[in-house]
């Protein structure tokens, strides 16, 4: 009997083959019913209906793109690697800035019931705002599309981190805080030696949610601001009617999103503890 992992992988493979096979089979161009005139051929009249490219074509295209990911042939023709790098740069910059604000602020909210009550109304109003709604205001104030995209990432990643940090800090077991008190630790020592490690798993959960949201939002933000990035690339290829590239970039968005989550998942495992 193979291990559970091996069997799960087998099932995944079967599902992939079945779905991929259906996709391939259903998207073949119909056989030409009659001999086409030269004029008709020239006008592409064989396909009366546009079709989603089958996986074989997407894979062939993916191979071509991935074998030269960093070429730069002008503003509208850059390799997938360059586009993804732009998006990652924006996401990571906005995310780190958000973490630098959200985690200390979360500590304050979690440790002080007064600040919790005072700041709660602001958080409740600001949190449900779609990050893209900030875009016009950001463009007006910042006057730079690149920085505006980073700001949108900042504003959307801040809330899960803020709320999770505050929750984790406020719910540190009172026994552990009492240990700090009976050992005469200062406020700062208590925060770093007891509360931070105790709340770290909850904070990391918030960070994982944030990076996930940031990666969702960057695609939409780049479609709006244009220029560079994977979101712009998807939209640009749609305008070019290059569906091969659209499907390929959708897959790449998924893979990079998964890698981002896995990276934070690895960090989360380092700070986890068992009670």
């Amino acid at each position: 009997m193979a291990s559970l992992n091996a069997r799960a992988m087998l099932v995944s493979l079967v599902i992939l083959l079945v779905l991929g096979g259906l996709w391939e089979a259903l998207n073949q161009p119909p056989p030409a019913s009659k001999q086409l005139t030269e004029y008709e051929l020239m006008m592409g009249a064989a396909d009366q209906q546009a079709r989603v490219p089958p996986p074989s074509k997407v894979l062939a295209h993916a191979w071509k793109e991935l074998s030269n990911p960093f070429y730069d042939a002008g503003p509208n023709d850059k390799g997938i690697g360059i586009q993804l790098a732009y998006s990652l740069y924006r996401v990571i910059t906005g995310f780190v800035a958000a973490a630098l604000v959200a985690i200390p602020l979360g500590f304050v909210i979690g440790m002080s019931p007064l600040m919790h009550r005072a700041l709660n109304p602001f958080i409740q109003v600001l949190r449900p705002i779609s990050p893209l709604a900030w875009m016009p205001l950001a463009l007006f104030v910042i006057r730079d599309s690149e920085q505006s995209a980073i700001f949108v990432i900042f504003i959307c990643s801040i809330w899960p981190m803020l709320i999770n940090t505050a929750f984790g800090v406020a719910n540190v077991r009172s026994d552990w805080v009492n240990v700090a008190r009976t050992h005469e630790l200062s406020q700062l020592q208590t925060a770093f030696q007891v509360i931070l490690p105790a709340a770290a798993p909850t904070i990391l959960t918030g960070m994982r949610i944030s990076i996930g949201i940031a990666w969702l939002v960057i695609v939409a933000a780049e479609m709006l601001v244009g220029g560079t990035g994977i979101g712009y690339y998807v939209w640009n290829e749609w305008n070019n009617l290059d569906l091969n590239s659209v499907i390929f970039s959708i897959l790449m968005i998924g893979i990079i999103g998964m890698l981002l989550d896995m990276a934070l998942g690895t960090v989360a495992r380092l700070v986890e503890y068992e009670e």
Binding site: D175, W176, H183, L185, Y273, E275
Partner: protein
């Protein structure tokens, strides 16, 4: 009143409410001498843990003062080490790091080598030299409590407070750790104040046992001196001629008399019992007074 090392005077705890204030305990007076091992026994809800938390500085009394070494106790301090029933180890630190945590807080100018040596010494005393790198989640309840005890002793507090340290342990483990506690206490001559539910445990460990009446309005009703000679251990203590006399007295108190309205003992006067022949007179007298009270 003589100069006790720790003095608890007129301590009360009241939880106010709109209808009727709940007085958990009132007018509690306790005196503990340096190097003395005092146990406190009482039914649940009599406020034993609150008294211990007040001594630790983690809780505030409604009335009364606690002084240690002529200084008023306010707020927690490294001079008063606490061992909690639920161990209170930091789960992200291993055994050695947990003890280091206490030692570093106590001896702030030590380097990490001195800290580790000191911690290892105390962990060896409780037989945990083999488990230094294990996390609390990998240890049994008994081993966790040993770590907690090692941490408390390693910070050499002036007063050690034990809040039912063996309450969550099975009887066999409890016995082994009790013996270790006696040993480590014998070596360090700590002043100890301990809460327990276990009469045998109290007799084995204590120099003096305080008996609390039931709450609300609980009081320290009696102070029983245990003068069974040391060193004691679980095997030889039951052979002592006074053992069952004391035990019966304690059990009788807990079952029959703890719910009566009893006056406060103030640690010195009041009701102080002893099985020492020299103090038999007091023993008789107080028994009569207790009967008289019970009859009312």
């Amino acid at each position: 009143m003589s100069k006790h090392f720790v003095r608890v005077e007129g301590l009360s705890k009241v939880y106010p409410s709109k209808q009727k204030d709940t007085v958990v305990f009132e007018d509690v007076n306790i005196g503990i001498d340096k190097g003395e091992f005092v146990c406190i026994i009482g039914h649940s809800g009599c406020g034993k843990s609150t008294i211990l938390n007040v001594l630790a500085g983690l809780d505030e009394p409604t009335l009364g003062v606690v002084t240690m070494d002529e200084k008023e106790v306010s707020g927690p301090s490294l001079d008063r080490g606490v061992v909690f029933q639920n161990y209170s180890l930091l789960p992200w630190l291993n055994t050695l790091e947990n003890v280091n945590f206490g030692v570093k807080a106590r001896f702030r100018d030590w380097n990490s080598k001195q800290v580790a040596e000191h911690s290892s010494k105390f962990l060896a005393m409780v037989g945990l030299s083999e488990a230094l790198t294990k996390k609390p989640s990998e240890l049994s309840g008994g081993m966790r409590q040993r770590v907690s005890i090692a941490r408390a002793f390693a910070t050499s507090p002036k007063l050690l407070l034990l809040d039912e340290p063996f309450g969550a342990l099975d009887a066999l483990t409890r016995g082994v750790i009790q013996d270790e506690l006696i040993k480590i206490w014998g070596e360090t001559q700590q002043t100890v104040f301990m809460i327990t539910h276990d009469v045998d445990e109290a007799i084995l460990l204590a120099d003096r046992i305080l008996l609390m009446s039931n709450g609300p309005n609980a009081r320290v009703a009696e102070s029983v001196v245990i003068d069974i000679p040391r060193p004691r251990n679980r095997a030889n203590i039951i052979e002592d001629p006074h053992y069952y006399k004391i035990r019966n007295h304690l059990v009788n108190f807990l079952i029959n008399r703890s719910s009566d309205e009893l006056p406060s003992a103030d640690g010195e006067g009041g009701v102080t019992l002893s099985v020492n022949p020299a103090r038999q007179e007091i023993f008789k007298k107080t028994n009569e007074s207790i009967k008289a009270i019970a009859a009312n």
